[in-house]
């Protein structure tokens, strides 16, 4: 097969190495390569078989039992539980997520002291890293190991630890098959592209990134608005230490990394011109989400904008089978709020916290594949790269507000 027609995931070694990126040995990279290929195989070769089994074996039986077509993804889920091809796809997908955690943790933990020392050196005496180590974690973070990360984002193996963040950063290139780019900042890049298309004259002076994690999707916005003051907030100290060190090593100096709970922030009313989040709302909770949106409303300056990127909502237009597949992460990948978040009427919640209907923005945003990572896609940019790996695709529902 020629280099130009290869459409598989890129070799892991194409990932960008910044100043706190862990050392990755030959075999550790090869382990990630296997997982990226296994994910691709499951999405393109096995998942279509699950749909065939549903259409040919499960749906006719279920329709006969119900006396109608299934009306809710819960009915589909109950009927699919005993379908052997679904069981196999689901068991294999779970295995890839667990193997990805083991692979990332093993490579990070073997160099724990060295990584923490590198982060500490980059962070020394910085007034742009503001930790609050007494911060009480919300129960929806403390109680859940999100997407099967043992210890989630916040657990520290030793004091002043960055290992949770280093593990997250090391593995995401494999999990997404390079779809988010060499710095895994595809959602930030998608926001930059969205703003250029929909708000080209928008020049925010103060910007807030909610649940920013290690700042993957903060830095593209900070680079787009180099004069702006950017605040990246997260509850997890390891993510912020690592993210701050990463930003320093990449030469980005207009971002403050602040440890706080975004349900209640210590900034004055109307402080920010642009408030956004990427893949964050689904990691809050049913009661926290309206508090987060109310806080966004309070903090937005007159003329300000907010925008949140998430995987697509389960609307009435979406087939119940697709909803069921998209809902896999809730029940198999430790995302307990995923199922509820994706059925919520977010515009209604935004109005309940005080926005006018005319201020609501619903749109879509997508990352552009890096042509160096995906030469075949670069040659035929409109052709679909492969069957969709639901929940992992670098294309999002964009929800937000703009002042009327």
């Amino acid at each position: 097969m020629s280099e130009r027609s290869y459409a598989g995931p890129p070799d892991y070694r194409a990932v960008s190495r910044h100043g706190v990126f862990p050392d990755v040995s030959h075999d550790e990279a090869a382990r990630f390569n296997f997982l990226a290929h296994l994910n691709r195989h499951l999405a393109t070769e096995v998942l279509p078989g699950v749909k065939r089994a549903y259409d040919s074996r499960v749906l006719p039986k279920l329709t006969a039992e119900l006396g109608r077509a299934p009306a809710h993804r819960r009915e589909v889920r109950a009927a699919m539980r005993d379908e052997p091809i679904y069981q196999l796809w689901s068991a294999l997908r779970r295995a890839t997520m667990e193997q990805r955690q083991q692979a990332g943790r093993a490579l990070v933990l073997r160099q724990l002291g060295e990584l923490n020392a590198r982060a500490a050196a980059l962070n020394a005496n910085a007034d742009t890293l503001k930790l609050d180590l007494e911060l009480k974690l919300p129960r929806y973070i403390e109680g859940v190991d999100h997407h099967l990360m043992p210890g989630s984002y916040h657990t520290e193996v030793v004091a002043d630890d960055v290992s949770a963040a280093a593990n997250y950063d090391a593995g995401i290139f494999a999990t997404t098959g390079g779809g988010l780019g060499r710095l895994n900042d595809g959602a930030g890049a998608a926001l930059v592209s969205w703003l250029s298309q929909h708000a080209a004259d928008f020049k925010p002076a103060r910007i807030l990134d909610l649940g920013a994690g290690l700042g993957h999707n903060t830095l593209p916005i900070a680079a787009l608005f180099p004069e702006a003051q950017v605040i990246a907030v997260d509850v997890a100290a390891p993510m912020l230490r690592y993210g701050h060190a990463r930003a320093k090593s990449l030469g980005v100096n207009n971002v403050q990394f602040v440890q706080a709970n975004v349900e209640s922030l210590d900034f004055p009313d109307g402080h920010f011109d642009f408030i956004y989040s990427t893949m964050f709302l689904h990691e809050t909770s049913f009661s926290a989400l309206p508090r987060v949106l109310a806080e966004v409303k309070r903090l937005l300056a007159p003329g300000g904008r907010s925008l949140h990127l998430e995987q697509p909502q389960y609307t009435e237009d979406m087939d119940v089978y697709e909803q069921f597949i998209r809902d896999w992460d809730a029940f198999n990948n430790n995302e307990p709020f995923w199922t509820t978040m994706h059925e919520l009427d977010l515009p209604k919640i935004a109005q309940a916290v005080g926005h006018q209907a005319a201020e609501i923005v619903e749109s879509g945003a997508a990352a552009v594949l890096d042509p160096q990572l995906f030469p075949a896609a670069a040659l035929a940019p409109t052709a679909p790269l492969a069957a969709e790996d639901y929940g992992r695709k670098a294309a999002w529902y964009a929800f937000g507000t703009r002042a009327a």
Binding site: T96, Q102, A106
Partner: protein, 120 residues
């Protein structure tokens, strides 16, 4: 600082692991097999790297591989690699043991959170 990397890297995430098959034994075996498949791919990739480098340099003679005798320190390095390898392969067994006496299902946690927050 003393961290058991092999064990800690293979830690279980919170929440009872979903069951996919009728047979727990089949489930366990599949997970072991998939790690073996991964490690086979890793070894294959490494051999491929070696062959290409050695071919380029013109330095390899096959009889040198068959007659190779590791030094004491080389033998220790290899032993440590094998121990880490086995900890990876048998991760699912470690996690089954870690889950003894645990825990509600993720669905029950979802339900708990819904009830706690008075969802309809």
């Amino acid at each position: 600082m003393s961290v058991n990397v092999n064990q800690l890297a293979a830690s279980k995430a919170k929440g009872k692991r979903p069951r996919y098959f009728q047979s727990a034994e089949a489930e366990r075996t599949l997970n072991i097999a998939m790690v073996l498949a991964q490690e086979l791919a890793v070894a294959r990739e490494r051999i491929d790297t070696l062959e290409r480098l050695l071919e380029a340099n013109g330095t390899l003679r096959r009889q040198d591989i068959d007659s190779f005798m590791p030094s004491a320190s080389q033998a220790v390095e290899r032993g440590e690699w094998t121990a880490a390898f086995i900890a990876r392969v048998l991760r699912v067994v470690q996690q089954e043991i870690e889950s003894i006496g645990e825990q509600k299902s993720l669905a029950a946690t979802v339900e708990d959170l819904r009830q706690e927050e008075k969802l309809p």
